[in-house]
Symmetry: C2
């Protein structure tokens, strides 16, 4: 494990690796879920957490430059001291690093409003597999049409093209107010209809999908009465944030929706909001309490969400009979998490069947976790031969010796 | 000139070009300003305007797929019929095509709120220089972390990696209301301060910078009384759009700003808004009325805007004595347009001096027009040898025979 303290040291490591034909595995907070930061065959781990510089917050442009090793929580605190916020938030905030979040194009709860990490990255510095140090848009120009989008290409490349050392990030005004609401609807199709109306609310920044089975499991696990009584087949957890009349925006959307929404619980204070969010956030821990959790992280086109949810339960039941199943996630961007809890290591092919269903419906086998090592075998099915050939050509161009995270994303 | 009517025909053209070593120049509406769509040395023009399919508007996901040859105005009408809008708007809307706007990562007035074209492109289909047809994220998944961001790489590549044939685009709810205001301030530094407060308005979607000299020229040219009396040294034209209390948002920002804003003119109806916008939009025609216009399209970090504006006038006066100078543009993203009107073809090196000043201040020599042919000689100074080498390697990977728009963006 090497722990460089500067971009120059990272560049020296890359030069040595090229000379000695040694693979490098960049590592941040080690919170990835697809094995992209785990050495596999004698590679050297490059731990980037010493690159932890927090640059001054530029309050005129709402930007900041931070080192790859800065944690998300440290960035959030730093921005908060200037009255600003960072658009992406994750449960792993205390450990996940900005460099890792860029490398994996991390998503989270607010993608429907602000996009994933790629949308926050204005510029970056990286050491490519060629050994070249590139500094793309270090001053964070919002408009800079001078050549190819190197920051966007490196974002989501999972360390296979080079090592990101620092990033110029977009910040946001911290929202003045937050309103949270749980809306009960009759099914997934109604939830998609509700989303279309809710998008008219300027402040909408989260829209999560919950199903009756999951809410019932959470209620039993936490010993809570149902948040809506009677418990609806499906619920949408929405959050609005900003300086506008958020309750007014929400009320107008509910008026337009009429009987589509059967029941509502609204909170305009932090404690009430946290109580509603508990119903969503407890899903992973409830799954873990029921056995070994097998996870599929899929994107589904919104129009295909109803058939996906209809078909996923019998598909899983046929392969893992009796295994508790939780389906929940980010309605606003069509990203569902499917958790299957089994007694043993074997899921009977349940996750593979879920991924295949996602593909069949025009979806993606990896919404926000990436390909890593775990999903390399799915890349060809997802993207097709021409796209995989193109990606391999891009990798060969920037990492001619194949030293950058070999075996990750593309077959070694 | 070849006029393909399908992606398969574009692919056949690329195959022929590879076989016969003929360069291809993709062309859309021919509204580019840096020569990227103009054949130079016997290349074949590939006119893409027959690829004019308008796919159905998906009102659940707020997306649409359109052919590369669709004009911006046709897309706007198509989205409007579904109660939606497209985020990027340009004066050339009746002629500019979506394919060309993707290839040049076109910007416009609303970049501070919605980003440029790259932020609107969820997926695309393209024929690369290798002849491969890649279809990246055709279903417009908002989250899809399965490999490199091919749409982002092709966006802004100016036809040098391949030919975009269709695009999956993000749409927006059409705004319920629009409020326009002209705010008089004492100088550029005060305008930057005002912008920082105005960003707190959820509805802010345009913030343009005007200077006293330019407003005086516009007033004389159009025979209008000053929009603010007395005419301030500097004015910020702001527009808010959405369904919130826009006048309330603006009023709160003005309260916070206090004496920074010396005078205001506000319009909450379309005609009044158009009258205020006239002061901004007439700048190019006023420049053209004074001679041959030499244009610099630069990005400047917001903190450096005051010194840039201070230094640009004497710099131009020394090289083009007596030439009318207009400096105006997109305050919200630091993109200024510098127009120098001279009697003859020669600007005495004024534009080059302005570009060099932009570089010295950490800015960009091309904010939204691209590199094309006109600015190839500036690319190395802007991006540095390592980045240019990296771009050349990417081009060689996707266009191994150099048939895609040779001589554009990178030296031939």
């Amino acid at each position: 494990v090497l722990r460089p303290g500067s971009t120059a040291e990272v560049a020296a490591i890359v030069r040595l690796a090229r000379t000695h034909h040694v693979g490098l595995v960049p590592q941040g907070g080690n919170t990835g879920l697809v094995g992209g930061g785990v050495p596999r065959a004698g590679e050297v781990v490059v731990d980037l957490r010493r690159l932890a510089r927090l640059g001054p917050v530029d309050t005129a442009s709402l930007q900041v430059t931070v080192g790859a090793g800065v944690t998300l929580a440290a960035l959030q605190r730093h921005a908060g001291h200037a009255g600003l916020a960072f658009a992406v938030d994750l449960g792993a905030r205390d450990t996940a690093t900005i460099g890792g979040m860029v490398a994996t194009n991390a998503g989270g709860l607010h993608v429907l409003r602000h996009g994933a990490m790629r949308a926050q990255v204005l510029g970056l510095e990286a050491v490519l597999g060629t050994g070249d140090i590139v500094a793309a848009n270090p001053t964070g120009l919002v408009k800079d049409n001078t050549g190819y989008d190197l920051p966007g290409l490196l974002c989501g490349s999972e360390g296979t093209l080079g090592i990101v050392t620092s990033v110029r990030l977009r910040l946001l005004p911290a929202p003045a107010r937050v309103v949270t609401a749980l809306l009960g609807v009759d099914g997934v199709a109604a939830a998609v209809d509700a989303l279309a109306e809710l998008r008219g609310c300027a402040g909408l920044h989260a829209a999560e999908l919950l199903l009756a089975d999951g809410m019932a499991l959470v209620g039993r696990h936490l010993g809570l009465p149902p948040p809506l009584d009677p418990l609806p087949p499906c619920a949408v957890l929405v959050e609005l944030a900003g300086d506008g009349d958020l309750l007014g925006q929400l009320g107008a959307a509910l008026d337009r929706l009429g009987p589509v929404v059967r029941a509502t619980a609204v909170a305009d204070d932090e404690a009430g909001g946290a109580r509603l969010w508990r119903w969503r956030e407890a899903h992973p821990e409830v799954a873990a309490a029921h056995g070994i959790v097998h996870k599929a992280d899929v994107s589904i086109p919104l129009t295909e969400l109803p058939p996906f949810v209809d078909q996923v339960a019998p598909l899983v039941a046929a392969r893992a009979p009796g295994a508790p199943l939780l389906v929940y996630g980010h309605l606003g961007d069509g990203n569902l998490h499917v958790n299957v809890a089994t007694a043993g290591d074997d899921d009977g092919g349940a996750v593979d069947a879920v991924l295949a269903l996602a593909l069949d419906l025009g979806g993606s086998v990896s919404a926000e976790h990436g390909i890593g090592v775990a999903k390399v075998s799915w890349l060809l099915r997802q993207r097709g031969a021409a796209a995989v050939r193109t990606m391999a050509a891009l990798k060969a161009a920037l990492d001619p010796d194949g030293i950058c995270n070999p075996g990750v994303l593309l077959p070694a």
